[in-house]
């Protein structure tokens, strides 16, 4: 039986890497006593995968993972048992059985983030709100460096072509919350740091930016 679940990664847990995150989930599953299915091969590992990696240092309330278990289990029982075994900051908020043959990670089409931008003064806040609409009008080239056989290969990309939407969520004092949807394709996606730099460079009077991943979108319903 395959189960897809949504979970949080908050507080100190934002400092654990993708691989460590996978390990935390695997160990929690072991502690529940629910048996996972294992892959075949020389070094068998439990069939558990995280839909899309999250950058180190970013919190999330909408992580998605998929697991295959041996015996059928009631979904709410699965959630209860897992939540008793997960560390503080990580909790399953939703889960459902998954009958599709396609692997969940291959179905991610975009990531949704909330950026909380703190400004130095009210003028900057007003200016930021006004300029949000036009942010995507122009190209914004970014350079990526890749190591290829001891050579550093540089690649130029247009950041704004990866951003599907920018929306204002709320304002509070000198903080504004915006939601940004970032496209995920075969050619890749954007890194949180790149979007942060983009915001710092495009807006004036920005003091600090906090980021949280809100959700992942899929080409079809997975959960």
């Amino acid at each position: 039986m395959k189960i897809v679940f949504k979970y949080t990664k908050l507080g100190k847990l934002k400092f654990i890497s993708h691989l460590d995150n996978l390990r935390v989930l695997q160990r929690a599953l072991r502690r529940t006593g629910i048996m996972a299915k294992y892959s075949e091969g020389f070094n068998p590992h439990p069939k558990l995968s995280i839909a899309y990696p999250l950058s180190l240092g970013v919190e999330s309330i909408g992580e998605i993972a998929e697991v295959e278990v041996i015996d059928d289990i009631n979904i709410s029982e699965f959630i209860d048992k897992m939540n008793k075994c997960l560390p503080d900051g990580m909790a399953i908020t939703e889960a459902s059985e998954y009958a599709d043959n396609r692997a969940v990670p291959s179905m991610v089409c975009s990531q949704v983030y909330r950026f909380t931008i703190s400004h130095n003064d009210q003028d900057s806040v007003d200016a930021a709100i006004n300029s949000l609409k036009g942010l995507l009008d122009n190209d914004y080239p970014i350079i990526r460096e890749k190591k290829k056989k001891n050579k550093i290969v540089k690649k130029e990309m247009n950041l704004t072509s990866f951003i599907q939407s920018i929306d204002l969520l709320s304002t509070e004092m000198l903080d504004i919350d915006i939601q940004i949807v970032i496209h995920v394709s075969d050619t890749g996606s954007l890194k949180v740091e790149e979007v942060k730099d983009f915001l710092y460079n495009s807006l004036n009077g920005v003091k600090s930016i906090e980021v949280q991943r809100i959700a992942l979108n899929f080409i079809d319903k997975v959960i």
């Binding site: 847990l13 654990i16 890497s17 075994c85």
Partner: protein, 617 residues
């Protein structure tokens, strides 16, 4: 600490989860509810410290007392250290994030000599004066225990109290004494005076040492007349009844050993003459299969680890190894929990068992002949023959193994060229054994990993009087082997002779080497056990500047009548026994395993109060 700054710093350092705490089963208490705050300090990085079973035992033991909160602290890696210094932040514990300065106790574990400068660094990073005499009631008590505490003198200036021997009973005793003092107005001196009366406790500031013209110790003087003459090590008589945690912390990040460790017995009956652990942990004490199964269950359920590792000095000697392993496999094979059997002796390998273990997890085979020639193995009392070794590897090859790891030592007492050459000969014989088989039987990618450690004579061993090889001698020997062992299928590696040399200085040092250590630390030496951080030249300079000769400690032969720096510690073994063993080694005479024949080391009368084994005489 400012959360924003902390987050920013964590984003810049390597492996930030080393510093966040918050792992499953870590313990957070309310400061108001406790009257003793204890920082368990491991003088190495998080991944190394968290792999250490002793830390988990002490952490949970202390936290089992409602009035004590024990937290953890590890050495920050150099990147984090820079951040702390740049922002003038003090080193903090993982649970409360408080500076070590606010604790009642900071307890260091002394697992290897090369971690000593990290101890100094951790104190300095916390704003704690390094020298005991410069710390008044406003600072925590700095305490230390572990195997290296058996020669505490090189650290005597820095540590207030040493714990000699096993701490599971001793530590709570000292804690309750401290609580009593704290309630009636704590004074450091008054507390130390009472603490030093507890068996197993050594307070170095109550003693002074006088040296003769040659620089040897002429006598020890007591500065507090009630302080004990001799410090006797503490042991736990029955491990089945001693404290064991029912859950342990599960790290977020990968540690050196990501598995649960079951300590199946303490001590060792083999009597290898180079091995300090085999001497200081006597007598051997086994846990029952029942106890171990229960402990395994608790740990697996609370951690979700996928591997059990059986740990001891000589796992193959456990009298119920087959029974235990089979019970563990029967119970956990289905749950895909692997079993690893490290440090199995060459002569006690039970292949059927290993084969079954391999079904869950595949690994190479490890053997430790320690010396290449039979003569040398007799000298060190490593009671195995070449036939034993070849017989074992042949069986292993027939069962399909093709990867072998071999551990040797160079620089053993009285070693000759022939003994060194014996290492090469043995390795090539093993290789021949693999290929001298019918063609169709040869499977797999054959590979031997040979590793040579540079021998360091250790206190409380029959070799404690011996000079260590010089760096040059070590280099000659390792260089020779490197030239001799030339084969694509054999890889040869060896320990850094310079590092082993320094290890020898601290293992065998007296009070005066403390100055050299401090100097080297001030010059920037930390993480000396990490090859890329170790700076031998700085150490040489530091010792020259402090006018201390390294050779005096590790390259000089000492007489049986010389007062050795650690002689005031009673580890249970008679000094005469060590002398007898040394003399026998010179003649190449071996000593029986304790299980076969008690050779009367003294532990039975001094610590056990009867025979070490129920069935021994």
């Amino acid at each position: 600490m400012n959360k924003h700054l902390f987050d920013e710093i964590l984003m810049r350092v390597e492996k930030p989860a080393r510093y966040t705490g918050g792992e499953l089963n870590s313990i957070v208490k309310d400061k108001k509810d406790v009257n003793i705050r204890f920082a368990f300090a491991f003088p190495d990085v998080y991944e190394v410290g968290m792999s250490h079973l002793g830390m988990h035992i002490i952490y949970n033991l202390l936290n089992s007392y409602p009035n004590i909160w024990c937290e953890r602290v590890f050495t920050p890696w150099t990147d984090m250290e820079k951040e702390l210094r740049n922002h003038e932040l003090e080193l903090f514990s993982l649970e409360s994030n408080d500076s070590l300065k606010v604790f009642d106790f900071v307890g260091f574990t002394l697992q290897y000599e090369m971690s000593y400068t990290n101890i100094l660094n951790m104190m300095q990073l916390s704003g704690i004066p390094l020298e005991s005499q410069n710390r008044d009631e406003n600072y925590p008590l700095i305490i230390a225990g572990g195997p290296c505490a058996f020669n505490p003198e090189p650290l005597h200036e820095f540590i207030d109290i040493f714990f000699i021997g096993e701490g599971e009973e001793l530590l709570p005793e000292v804690m309750s004494l401290y609580e009593k003092h704290k309630k009636s107005g704590y004074s450091k001196q008054a507390f130390l005076k009472e603490a030093c009366q507890v068996e197993g406790i050594y307070v170095p500031s109550f003693y002074d040492v006088v040296y003769d013209e040659a620089g040897k110790i002429s006598k020890r003087i007591k500065l507090y007349d009630q302080a004990p003459e001799v410090i006797k090590k503490r042991i736990i008589k029955d491990l089945n009844k001693s404290y064991f945690p029912d859950k342990i912390i599960v790290p977020f990040i990968e540690t050196v050993h990501d598995r649960i460790v079951l300590e199946i017995f303490r001590g060792c009956t083999r009597g290898c003459r180079f091995c300090q652990a085999g001497m200081i942990y006597r007598p051997v004490r086994e846990k029952s299969v029942e106890t171990l199964l229960a402990q395994a269950e608790l740990l697996l359920d609370s951690t979700g680890h996928e591997e059990i590792s059986l740990s001891s000095l000589s796992t193959g000697d456990y009298s119920k190894l087959i029974e235990l392993s089979q019970a563990l496999l029967d119970k956990y094979e289905e749950r895909r929990i692997g079993l690893s059997l490290p440090s199995l002796r060459l002569d006690s390998i039970t292949f059927g068992l290993i084969e079954r273990v391999q079904k869950v997890r595949k690994s190479g085979l490890t053997f430790a002949p320690e010396a290449g020639s039979q003569r040398m193995r007799d000298v060190i009392n490593k009671n195995i023959t070449e036939d034993d070794i070849l017989g074992s590897v042949k069986t292993a090859f027939e069962l399909g193994w093709s990867n072998i790891k071999l551990y040797f030592m160079v620089g053993l007492s009285g070693e000759t060229r022939d003994d060194i050459y014996g290492i090469k000969e043995m390795v090539y014989k093993i290789k021949d054994a693999f290929f001298d088989r019918p063609r169709e039987a040869i499977r797999g990618n054959f590979n031997i990993n040979v590793s040579a450690a540079c021998f360091v004579p250790k206190p409380f061993t029959p070799f404690q009087w011996d000079p260590q090889n010089t760096v040059k001698e070590f280099q000659d020997k390792t260089g020779y082997l490197k030239r001799e062992i030339r084969d694509k299928k054999i890889s040869f590696s060896y320990h850094d002779p310079k590092l082993s040399n320094l290890e020898g200085v601290f293992a065998l040092g007296d009070r005066r080497v403390a100055r050299g250590m401090k100097k080297a630390f001030e010059m920037g030496c930390t993480f000396d056990g990490w090859g890329d951080q170790f700076d031998y030249d700085k150490w040489l300079t530091a010792f020259i500047e402090e006018n201390i000769s390294m050779d005096f400690y590790n390259n000089r032969e000492k007489g049986y009548d010389e007062i050795l720096p650690w002689d005031f510690i009673d580890c249970g073994i008679r000094k005469e026994y060590l002398i007898e063993e040394k003399e026998k080694s010179l003649k190449g005479i071996t000593t029986d395993d304790c299980r076969v024949n008690c050779s009367g080391c003294g532990v039975n009368t001094s610590l056990v109060g009867g025979p070490c084994f129920e069935d021994s005489l």
